[in-house]
């Protein structure tokens, strides 16, 4: 069993090492995820259930990093919920990862927005595996084979995201 200080140090080292790779002006770690297998994760959702990326294999996944302090994130989330309802029969799944420091406010927002897709609290280690989440909103599209096909950073026209979702849903 690792002591908490040692664990924090190791995680910080892991994160720093990942970011060292992303510090290059071009070809950042996040961009390098494109066309690669999406990093797997298992978290406990705000609903208490296990949230495992591999559990959605075969679906087109919209993986959205958000936080309660991120205004543009909160504008997107109801849109993603509508898409979850609209596209679920075609094999579409939204997953939310909160980058809040505490679970309580994030859980409250999920309940207030009545989100119809699973969300969980993320951490720095998961963020590092996705190239570092150093700004929100951040959304990845993952195809039915589990490959990262698109990355949208910052305030993005949701029509652009929807267009990519539609394209991925029509792929065999």
């Amino acid at each position: 069993m690792l002591g908490s200080t040692l664990r924090r140090t190791l995680i910080a080292g892991f994160v720093a090492a990942s970011l060292a790779a992303s510090a290059a002006p071009a070809g950042s770690a996040a961009e390098n995820l494109l066309d690669k297998k999406a990093p797997q994760f298992t978290l406990t959702g705000f609903n208490g259930q296990t949230l495992r990326l591999s559990g959605f294999r075969g679906k087109v996944i919209l993986l959205n990093f958000w936080a309660t302090w991120c205004a543009p994130c909160q504008a997107e989330m109801p849109v993603f919920a509508a898409w979850q309802h609209q596209f679920a029969p075609r094999g579409f799944q939204v997953i939310g990862i909160s980058m809040d420091d505490d679970a309580a406010p994030a859980r409250r927002l999920v309940e207030r927005l009545k989100l119809n897709y699973p969300s969980a609290l993320g951490d720095a280690r998961l963020a590092a595996r996705y190239g570092g989440v150093l700004g929100l909103p951040l959304t990845f599209l993952i195809d039915r084979d589990g490959v990262v096909r698109a990355r949208f950073q910052g305030e993005t026209d949701v029509k652009k995201i929807k267009s990519r979702v539609n394209a991925l849903l029509t792929e065999p």
Partner: protein, 152 residues
């Protein structure tokens, strides 16, 4: 009567500690902004005064990466963050060179830098700069090749 006065004092004290009204990043005078390249140059120039750098946003982001030497204060859009910022700078001379930054969200959506600047301005600090991160800390600092370190 004594109880009334005590209650009134507590209300006044609470009001003084209250979070400043939400201030947009756009309320920060342009002259008080510092560009990432300029701060980076400052940090690498020998013989010049280095600022106290305070991150006034999310701990999760600070843990992932922050400017080397920066201190985590907390989100200035929240009461705790404001109190921590106030406490951190309270004993400093008002001429201290301070740079605050967040980079959580696009500049016009950042809830933290406006209140942080506002508080320091109200506390009469005269040499405060706010790091201008147009999109976020990743795009405008880390991915530009400027130095970062991880950890608490």
């Amino acid at each position: 009567m004594a109880l009334f006065c005590l209650a009134q004092q507590r209300v006044q004290a609470a009001a003084q500690r209250a979070v400043p009204p939400p201030a947009s990043a756009f309320t920060i005078p342009t002259a008080q902004l510092i560009q990432p390249a300029e701060l980076n140059r400052l940090l690498h120039t020998h013989g010049v005064e280095k600022p106290l750098i305070l991150q006034v946003g999310s701990r999760m982001m600070f843990t992932q990466a922050h400017i080397p030497g920066a201190e985590y204060v907390g989100p200035a859009s929240q009461a705790d963050g404001v109190e921590q910022l106030r406490a951190r700078v309270a004993s400093l001379p008002r001429t201290a060179f301070i740079v605050v930054y967040c980079g959580c969200c696009p500049w016009n959506r950042c809830p933290n830098v406006g209140p942080a600047y506002s508080l320091l301005h109200d506390m009469r600090f005269t040499r405060v700069k706010v790091l201008y991160l147009a999109e976020n800390f990743g795009d405008d600092w880390a991915n530009k090749g400027f130095p970062v370190e991880g950890g608490q």
